[in-house]
């Protein structure tokens, strides 16, 4: 006779539940604000929310990978700025063609991510410390390279078009959704495929779930961990190009604080800080919850300082609900 300890997982406990809960929260926010304010439910405002999500969303994609490995990346915000500044230098000061400048900016992000990953995996410096250091380094380098001045893309109007133009408007006139939103969804799709279908995605989960077991299975954990941080750096690079295009300038003083918004989006989306689980869909929903909340509260004339307080409350609430869900 075997005593089967059958673990019947209730639907409430299932992993899908976290995403459904997050998605439900987003819908509730939308309905709530729509009822409360006619200004909220306009097409222009929806576009505004989408646009406001773009940069944070892209940064959060990279952060998702790192957090699933049970690591943390505090440098995503300032690395974004670093990539933006370099893109500015490449295009305006070196006069490189726009695509080359963009690829250069993104590559710079990926390279710094690679450095992060190497320090974490080979030198065994804890991720928190490594990326905290890199936060300062990239912040400082951005100021040095830009000589403390914003770099404007006034001579290359096509660069601004990249994020703020609308391909969709040309296809369906009047449907004026900026390209930045398409880039966000494109990047999210790419991230989703990488996370759920590729070897890199599989090892991302494996590292976060049990790194020692992964190593003993013959996986070269250093290489893959480095790759994860490089990927996060790449998404920061994309974010940098995006924000430069959106602002038509690289603002060297910008960036600090973005990493916290990105981590908040990842956490609200149900990715566990202890590693091993998480999803891109959750992160995107998390990013939208933050920007919808900010937008809605602003429309309701809630002062900006209070919006920040509410965001903090939401982060804690989201994690608390996740803990309750697991406990059941």
């Amino acid at each position: 006779m075997t005593i089967e300890t059958k673990i019947t997982k209730s639907f409430f406990r299932s992993d899908a539940m976290q995403q459904i809960m997050a998605f439900g929260a987003l819908i509730v926010l939308f309905i709530g604000f729509s009822v409360a304010s006619p200004y909220f439910r306009t097409f222009d405002n929806f576009v505004g929310i989408l646009l406001a999500t773009a940069v944070n969303g892209v940064l959060a994609l990279g952060a998702t990978f790192v957090i699933i490995t049970a690591g943390i990346d505090l440098s995503v915000g300032t690395l974004m700025t670093f990539s933006a500044v370099l893109t500015g230098v490449f295009i305006t000061k070196w006069g490189l063609p726009i695509p080359v400048g963009i690829v250069g900016g993104i590559s710079a992000g990926a390279f710094i991510g690679f450095v992060n990953g190497s320090l974490v995996s080979r030198l065994k410096i804890p991720p928190f410390i490594t990326t905290l250091g890199m936060l300062y380094i990239t912040k400082g380098l951005s100021l040095v390279i830009s000589e403390l001045k914003p770099i404007y893309f006034n001579d290359t109007p096509a660069f601004r078009e990249m994020a703020m133009g609308s391909v969709l408007d040309k296809i369906i006139p009047g449907f004026e959704i900026p390209n930045a939103v398409l880039i966000l969804f494109g990047a999210a799709f790419l991230a989703h495929i990488i996370l759920s279908r590729t070897i890199l995605g599989r090892y991302t989960f494996a590292l976060g779930s049990n790194e020692e077991a992964t190593r003993l299975s013959g996986v070269n954990v250093n290489v893959w961990k480095t790759a994860v941080y490089a990927l996060a750096g790449m998404f920061s690079g994309i974010g940098g190009v995006l924000i430069a295009s959106r602002l038509n300038s690289a603002q060297p003083a910008l960036g600090a604080g973005y990493e916290l918004d990105a981590i908040a989006a990842v956490v609200i989306g149900g990715t566990s800080l202890s590693g091993g689980e998480g999803s891109i869909l959750g992160t995107i929903i998390g990013a939208f919850i933050i920007s919808t909340l900010t937008n809605g509260l602003r429309i309701m004339s809630v002062p900006q300082e209070w919006q920040i307080v509410v965001t903090g409350g939401i982060v804690i609430l989201a994690v608390f609900l996740d803990i309750v869900r697991r406990r059941k």
């Binding site: 006779m1 075997t2 005593i3 089967e4 300890t5 673990i7 997982k9 279908r197 590729t198 070897i199 890199l200 995605g201 599989r202 989960f205 494996a206 976060g208 779930s209 049990n210 020692e212 077991a213 992964t214 190593r215 003993l216 299975s217 013959g218 996986v219 091993g276 689980e277």
Partner: protein
Amino acid sequence: MSETLIKMEGIVKRFPGVLALDQSSFELRAGEVHALVGENGAGKSTLMKIIGGIYSKDAGRMLFEGEEVEVKSPRQAQDLGISIIHQELNLMPHLSVAQNIFIGREPRTNLSFIVDDKKTNREAERLFKLLSLNLDPNTKVSDLTVAKQQMVEIAKALSFNAKALIMDEPTAALTDTEIEDLFTVIRQLRKDGVGIIHISHRLEELKLIADRVTVMRDGKTIDTLEAKDASKDKIISLMVGRTIFEEAPEIPENPSEEVVLEVRNLNRGKALQNVSFQLKKGEILGFAGLMGAGRTEVARAIFGADSYEAGEIYIKGKQAQIKTPGNAVSNSIGYLSEDRKQYGLVLGMDIKENVVMSSMKDFISKLGWVDFKKSSVQAQDMVDALDIKTPTIEQKIKFLSGGNQQKVVIGKWLTADTDILIFDEPTRGIDVGAKSEIYKLLNDLTDQGKSIIMISSELPEILRMSHRVVVMCEGRITGVLNADEMSQEKIMKFATMRNNNVQEKEAIAN
């Protein structure tokens, strides 16, 4: 005689300050189950880790199928056909069964960076068929029992076409039925010509499964015997290098009739159903049952570590409100967890800090400072009284052996001076010599008038130590036996009595 698969000769391995392996040797043939036994720290795991490429040897030769090899990484060992199943299972709990088996060599689609999950699942299913295992490849590993997780490890080893399989204490956490299932699989592998190294502390099971037994002590290989010639006493005497009488009969003296702890109708969902029992002064009350029978749950509920829905706890006749472990300690209850490292000790702190952990208030001076002198004296007393083997009381817990760690936990509760002590698997992972010492300690404690609840999965231990035994199955108490009516058979029957059949109960009792 079958061919020699692995031969280790003159293996030496040094760790800082320790000679872990000293000219040890070992031989594994194809199609045999070769048991490797020895006290903790004898060098078994170190030798196996050298075979598996996790450690490198300092001297000696390793031959695989007659050729000298240098195994430098786990990967290289796998490529040779050597797989290790570690005591702490090496699985990724968040990944599926199939993903775990093929980690590091996932089947790919035509695009080489895309994982082919369908193929992964198909391959996993094929392996499960070979093992006659009923398992869904999509199940998350965290949802499986330990026994099933072990089967996943075996399937993983098979997928490497393992010629040699090393299993480090595979039965330590399994129930008897699960062990039988495991042995069925092991016999199947043996028939297929796989050489299996089986490390175990459970000497009773060697006769059931092993062909040969090698005994190690102090980093040396002492002897290799045919399993059929190896009596338990002989193995034990080789292990400890002296003759000890492990099965020394203990005639339990009748304890007093004074009831110190009474539990009435403790309930929590399915985990605890109407649990009622009494503990008498100076008694060792054994708690027997299979894994998951609810014994630990009872202990944790009494100790206030987990909540319960209904029921009452009486301490010396008075109803006690125990909501937190703090309440339990004030009611003079101490709990020694089955998982010392996780719940019993702070590994990074030293002996003197751990010993006073549950009774800090007695070691604080009037001004609120920690009284280091007093706590050091107490720690030294405990080290002497319990014969804890350590250079100093400043030694960090993580550097002590399992048996000595357990003694520190005991020292901690002796310092707290509680009248009721709950020992959850007090000898798990502890070698034979240290076991006897722990048994002696338990007897000394009851002689001093302390009352003990001893949860144990080892029936010989229950039979040897308990005045009475409570048997549990699926959250219910299915039987209570006095010392004179205890037998392995009766306990097992109660332990597997899944529905509360009164007639069956009476039949067993008679």
